[in-house]
Every structure is written in C-alpha cells, then in structure tokens.
Symmetry: C2
C-alpha cells in the first residue's frame, strides 16, 4: 500500500457527531484502499464520495450511528475501515408515534437586536410580494389549452407595455373534474388551488378561468363573491372570444399591478420555504446544515421559515417532537405522520419507497439516514406550528408544513402556504424551479457547483473542500435570501426563465 503522500491525495472525511461510529468520505472521486483517514482508520477498499466507512469492527446486530442517531444495524460482520453499503444494513423500526414527547429539546433562539428588512411589493391585506406577477388560476384542466394560447398572447402583446410586472403565471393543473371531489383527502387539492390563487406575489389581484360544468365549483374555491374575477369559457362565443376576454381581464389587472413599487418591509413579513431534491450523502454534511444555520438566522431576524417533506422526517420524528413548542404542536405533528402512514399503507407502499437510486448511489443507505440529513436543514429553533398540506402560514418562527417529498408537489404546497422564496439543496443536481417565487439552489458539492455553474446559486461544498464553515455558508445563504427576495439578485433558474408546472397533491381517486 502507498501512503497518503505517495498517492498525492489529501483524504477528507466527515464525522457529524461525537457518538458516530461511521465517517463519510468527502473527496470528489472517493478514496482508494490504503488511505488513512483523519480519524486514524485505514480504508479497506476504494470508497466513493459521500459513502460511509466503519470506524470500528461491527458484529452482526451492532448499531450503526450517524448524526448521533441509530441509522440501522449491521446485518453481517463489518471490519474497521470497511465501506458500509446499503445491503449491509438492517433498517430500524420507525419511531412509535404514541411514544413521542414534546418540548424535551427546546432551545429558543435569541432575536437579533438589529432590524432586518427586505424590499417587497406591498399588498392591500398587509402582506408583501417578492415578485410582481399576474396570476391566472384555473378551476379545471379543460381550460388550460385555451389559457396557454392566451398567455402567449399576453406575453407578446400586453406585457411589454407594463415593465413593472415580472411575468404571467397560469396556475394550471390536472384537477377540477374527473375526480372524486368528496373522496378521502380531496380537501387538499381544493385548498391548494384556493390558496395559490391568493398568493402574495399576485398583488391581491385574482383571475379565475373556468369551463362552466366542472366539479370544482366556485363555492368550493371560496371565490363566489367577486364574479368579476371569473370567466367561464362556456359563456363565451367560441375560441377567439374566449381569448379576447382573457386578454381584456388581464389588461385591467396589468394596469393596476404595473403601479406596484417595492418598499422596505420587516423580515417578519417574509416566508421562506426549505426543501431538498436529488440528495446525496453530503446533503446532510454541507448544504443542509448550512441551510439550517440560515434558518436560525432568519428566525432570529423575525421571519417565518417552513420545512416540509413528511416521508423524509418520519424516521426522525422523535427529534422534531422534542422541539415541538407545545403539546398541541406535537399532536399536530403526530396527526400528519399518522395521516401519511395510512395513506402509504392504503397504496401498499412503505417508507423505504422514498429512497431513490440516485440517493443510494450517492451514499444514502436508507430513509433513516436520509431523514437525519434532511432534518438538519430546519436548524435548531423550536417548532411553533404545523400546517396540514396547503394551509396558509400562521406564525413567525419555524413551522413544519406537511407535504410529500416530491419536489414539485412539495414546492406547490409551500407556495399555497404563502412561501415567498424557497431554498433548495441538491447533491445529485436538479434544474428545479418555480414560476411563482424564486428558488435559490444550494449545492452540496463543489464538483456539482462547477459542473452546473449556470444553475447553482450557492456552493456549500466549500465546507468540505474550501475551508468554509457551516456558519459562513449559512450567512451567505441568509444574505442571498434577502437579496433575491428584494429583487437585487436573480437566481440562475430565474435568469434562464425555467418554468415547471405546479403539481397538486390529490390523495383521492380520480374517476
């Protein structure tokens, strides 16, 4: 075996907690056998980046500990210095929901004395927007083809005359008809559409395009009062008149929206969503801890912060329960976990269904390990509230907004909750974006940052290979959030105008 010097590589490995009996390889291309890690262990075989190495000899049944928590049990003997692969680990049972205790680990964060502000568009109801958009809601999928045609025309013929308006956003979706409108869970997509329609980035203006015979009626959207905001295609004389009518209604709203000006607003008016997608084993080492620090800073500055992704916190729910500020918050956490457990059971899916091939390739052996790395991005603040999917945010501080973990479903629900900006961490890389609010992308690895330099906004990989601390990258993210929310900085995804469809979460059957 060659020594580290002879190979010419400086080995990087990261142990997250003093109690851990594994460490994670940090080097870009992994490390060859024979390398001696800083923990004093010699690698028994080549081990890829992000993967775990045994810091002791494991007997069959020994607990494997990362983040100070048991992520599984060795299902065979594993020698010190060995690469621990997913097939060598037996998953622990998920935490029993009936045994959770709240408030065990409450550490209130000290508010900053300094007042932090951002530049937002004021709305009549006292909220602020981070973009100035004309939003067009649909009550049923049947109208999206006509609306798509009209939106193109609005962009080409109207928008250039209203330079203060950033964009036209059609909230199109596959809901509204051909669904069990009173089926189990159907309140979720309905609430989502209702709350998306009144997003603060739409400036208090509402415009709903319906067909006229759909199941999702206006009373279900609570939109019956102002009929001037609604256009039913079945009331129009043909396609051309439909398009003309939409343009006319858009023009009225553009006139008003164009007068909006950004003003200084306290950070208590800002709602930040956190999410991860395309995670790898470094997510929990670099990007998520840095985002966690940024979350703490935001909360100390008075903002509202939401984290989500039920299937990614389910296995670490005991850690969240301990941070629940009140018994009521803890019960709400349990309610959301139970709801999801039942939902997955109905469809014969289990929690192991979450981990993707990319996660595994990246070194995340199972959902327990992924959960622990995912929860870090919530920082350390007490949890003050829990939202059912798509409910509007109610409090400043840290809120758990229950959503599935799929990126667009989660993002859509966070938007419905009133999210102004999302911080999105990624290890494998995804060009994810939302049209309704900016998405700030944080990479877990320097290689990804360099490979996708025109998509990644912040490189948290520097924590492993650039001498930066978690706190420094956390501050960089905190500042970037305020700059992007204020319109002073544009995210890469917005620079390119990447547009993805929103996706509703409809747990009910379709018909």
């Amino acid at each position: 075996m060659m020594t580290n010097q002879e190979v010419g590589i400086k080995p990087i490995s990261v142990k997250m907690n003093d109690h851990d009996n594994v460490t994670i390889i940090g080097n870009d291309n992994g490390l060859p056998a024979g390398m001696v890690l800083q923990e004093g262990v010699e690698l028994l075989q080549r081990t890829p980046q992000g993967h775990k190495v045994a810091l002791k000899d494991f007997q069959e049944g020994d607990a494997i500990i990362r983040y100070g928590e048991i992520i599984g049990y060795a299902n065979r003997e594993i020698l010190k210095g060995g690469w621990i692969r997913e097939t060598m680990i037996r998953m622990p049972e998920p935490p029993n929901l009936s045994e959770l205790r709240h408030g065990v680990n409450i550490e209130p964060l000290e508010p900053f004395e300094e007042t932090y502000t951002f530049m937002g568009y004021p709305n009549p109801d006292g909220t602020f927007g981070t973009k100035n958009l004309i939003g067009i809601t649909t009550s049923v999928q049947c109208v999206t083809g006509v609306l798509g045609f009209a939106v193109e025309k609005i962009k080409k013929e109207l928008l250039p005359a209203y330079p203060n308006v950033d964009d036209v956003v059609a909230i199109d979706h596959a809901y509204g008809c051909g669904v069990a409108i009173d089926g189990l869970g159907s309140e979720i997509p309905i609430r989502t559409i209702r709350n998306l329609a009144s997003h603060p980035n739409f400036g208090g203006e509402m415009l709903i395009i319906g067909l006229g015979c759909e199941k999702l009626t206006l009373d279900r959207l609570n939109a019956g009062e102002s009929e001037s905001d609604v256009l039913f295609l079945q009331d129009r004389n043909g396609f051309s008149e439909m398009v003309d009518s939409i343009l006319e209604m858009a023009k009225e709203r553009l006139e008003r929206l164009n007068k909006r000006q950004r003003v200084e607003a306290p950070l208590s008016k800002l709602t930040v969503g956190l999410q991860c997608g395309g995670s790898d084993a470094l997510s929990g080492v670099t990007a998520n801890p840095a985002v966690g620090h940024a979350a703490d800073l935001l909360i100390r500055a008075g903002a509202s912060v939401m984290f989500s992704e039920v299937t990614e916190v389910r296995d670490g729910i005991h850690l969240l329960a301990a941070r629940a500020e009140t018994e009521e918050v803890c019960k709400a956490l349990i309610r959301e976990m139970e709801w999801y457990d039942a939902y997955l059971a109905r469809g014969l899916a289990d929690r192991s269904a979450n981990t993707t091939p990319g996660n595994k390739k990246g070194g995340l052996s199972n959902i327990v390990e992924k959960s622990l790395g995912s929860i870090v991005k919530s920082g350390t603040a007490p949890i003050v509230d829990v939202l059912a999917p798509g409910e509007k945010i109610r409090k400043n501080g840290l809120t758990f907004a229950a959503t599935p973990a799929g990126d667009f479903v989660c993002g859509t629900l966070q938007l419905a909750s009133g999210m102004h900006i999302e911080v999105f961490t990624t290890g494998r890389g995804t060009p994810y974006n939302l049209s309704m609010a900016p998405v700030l992308k944080v990479a877990t690895r320097t290689t990804l940052s360099e490979q996708w330099r025109d998509l990644i906004d912040v490189n948290a990989g520097k924590i492993i290979d650039g001498g930066a601390t978690i706190e420094e990258i956390g501050e960089e993210i905190f500042k970037a959030i305020i700059d992007v929310a204020s319109g002073r900085r544009q995210t890469w995804a917005d620079h390119w105008g990447i547009k993805n469809d929103l996706v509703l979460f409809n747990p009910a059957p379709i018909t």
Copy 2:
C-alpha cells in the same frame, strides 16, 4: 293554457326505445307548461332541454326506463307530463359482476366489400402515423423546465427548416420520482410513458430526456438498449450545454422525419378512440348514437376502434358483457371493473362521484343514465378485446380500453394504446385537445355548434332540429375521420394549436 300553435314553438322530444316510459325535451330553451309533446303528453311545468318528462303516472318504487333499461326508481309519485329531476330518482344497484354472461347479444357486422384507405405516414415497424411529429419523452418531471426551454428553441430555430414535420411534442408529466414506484398500480403510469414514447405519430424515432437519479430508470421504460436515444441532464455541464445537446439530438431526428411522405394505407392500420366530455342529456340522443354508427362503419371497413371510461360503463356493464365475443373478453371486462371498484373503495369514493354539476344541469340524473348514453357510442359490434389502462391495441374491431373517464387521463391512455385520432362528443362544450393526435369534436346540440363555431367540427344536433338522421351524421363523422387522419382536413382545435398537457393515471401513492 295556450296550444302549441299559440305559443309558436314546435315541441321536440325524443324517446330512445319503445320500452321507455320517459321522453327527453329537445328544444333549445326547453318547453313551457301546457305544451303537448309528440308522444301525446301535456307538460305539467316548464322543462329544460335534455331533461326527462314522465310518459305515465309513476307510483313510488316504479322503474324509470330509458334506452330500454332501468335508470332508477321513482322515490315519490310523479304524474304523467311531469319533469323528472334527479332528486326524484333512487339509483339501482350496479350490475353484479359475478352474474354477467357473455355472448348473449353478438351481432357480427358485415365487412364492406369496398376497400377503405387513408393517407398515413409509414413507420419501419409496419404501423402508420396520422401526424409527423418529433416526440420527446421525459423520465421525470425535474427535466421539464429545461426541456420546455429547449422545445421553444427547436420550434423557433430548427422546425422552419423541416416543413414536413408538423410539430414538436414534449411528453411531460408529474411522474418519475417522488412516487411509490412499486406501489399498487404503479405499472400503469410506467406502461403509459413507455407506450407514449413509441407512438406511431413519432415515426419510429425515440428521444428520452432524463435527470439521472430518478426512480423511473431506463430498464423500467424498456429503453436501455439504445443509449443514443437518451440524454441525462446530470451528465451535462450546465444549462446551456443541456439545451444545446437536446437541440443536437432533435436535429438528427428532424432530418430523418422530414423525409416522411404520406402513402395510402388500409383502414385496418387506423386506430380510432372514442370519448365524451362535458356530457348532457342529448349526448345519448344525438352525438353518441351518431358516433356509434360511425364506429360500426369503421369496423366494417376494417379499422380498430377503442371506447373507454370505466366509470361511465360500469352501470351498463351487463350490456357490454352480452357483446363480449368470448368468455375471455368477458372475464377481462370483469377484471377491469373489479379493479376500479376496489380503487374507488380504497379512496372512499363511490360511483355517484362521476356525475358533474354540468351533467345534472344538462338533464343527466345519475351515472346509470349517463352510462347508457355513453355506451351508445360504441355502436353495435361485438367486443373483441379488453386493454388494461395504457396497453397497446392488439386487434381490429371493437376494443374496450379501460381508462378513467376524466378527459385528459382517458385521452393520454388512449394515446398510449396507439390511438391515431379521437372522436370526442360534448354537450356542455369543452375546448379539449391533444397534441399527439387530432381530436374531432362532435356537438350534441346545434346551439353549442353555433356558439362555438370555431371549435366544433361536427354538429350532431341536426339529428334533433335539422332533419338529419343518426346514420347521416354517423357517415359524416366516418368521412371526417378519414379526411383528418389523412391530413386533408384540419380539426378546429388543431387549427388554433390548442395544447393541453397529458395526464398520467397513477393510482399509487406519491412520497
């Protein structure tokens, strides 16, 4: 009361079957009290178009018969000439699936001696296309934003140089990750994407854009063999390179597709899908019977015809079982009904969830009545095959392709089954369209035809108010199908370029 002459209206009413004890009002604005219908009955109150009038005195519990079948039981006394509303009807139990008998009502259609042909684009595998499209499949939603940007660029910068290519179609969807990939029913969305990717209108060319870490891996798409057809965004150096690579791959395919020329092909190479959406009580009186006649003509000319929409045939399944050519076909019909019964039960939705407010306003009291009117569009041919959702068509003649009834979900599944053109009947009106194959719209009412003259292709309302017979409109539809399939005629929806997203049917949970 005034006589009919005094009011100055010629009453129109339609009884579908000699055994019926109700008739349907045909006049545009309904008819006032006192009018005497051609069945000799005097209206007791104003009755809207499409609604039912009692042709006898009903006692509580009496069967209400339409299409020669029981659509429900009177839940109160109803006098002769009375308007029968949905609240007056108790629904019958759905047909018991264990008691169905096959082959009771087989009436083989006589093949035409004349050979019917259409002008289609020949494919290497012996199939033919009705459009010449470049199709770009996605394996996960994460890529659709980048792909959308690339498609705009392809349309602007490449397509004009390839005049024989009709359009670029991105098969984007919300599947691929964040889903229970092995959950109950997950084979349906996976099969759908796989079969959409090889649709005959894509000329045998395949192009798949993936991310790289998604759950929907290439082996699940059976697309692993030809890696030159696949591009993973995670393998590219940033956004610009992603877009450039997609354009390069598109260009190669456009070169080949541009050489395609339509040739004469027998009708046995044509697959026609049938669907209804935004139905009213006239759907089962005018448009659907006319489409049923067209279906018979297509089958006599050798074509494949698919009808679908499980929730709309469930209550008339005994009529379909009777037309099942073999016991195997009957068993397959039962299998699909049972699957859907269980699916709806899991979500606590019942069959009554199908009928929309628009259906009811249009006079369709319940799903039984809607079913009977929906089934008529399958004509009279024996049913030779049954497809599970998204399976490829296997036979000429009449096939039941099991799908939900929601328009875009049904259309997407029919496309996956290889549909070349869809005939879509509508009473309330919907601007529904598909990008992958033309959609010929048939209106049930002259008023809709006139109101939407730039969207409706065929007016079946003439059967009620224009002196046309069901057979005449059926022939008009048959000829229009061949003309549109051959590129000699453009549908209105294609004229405007109305584009709707495809929607996958994913019965499994999302994670």
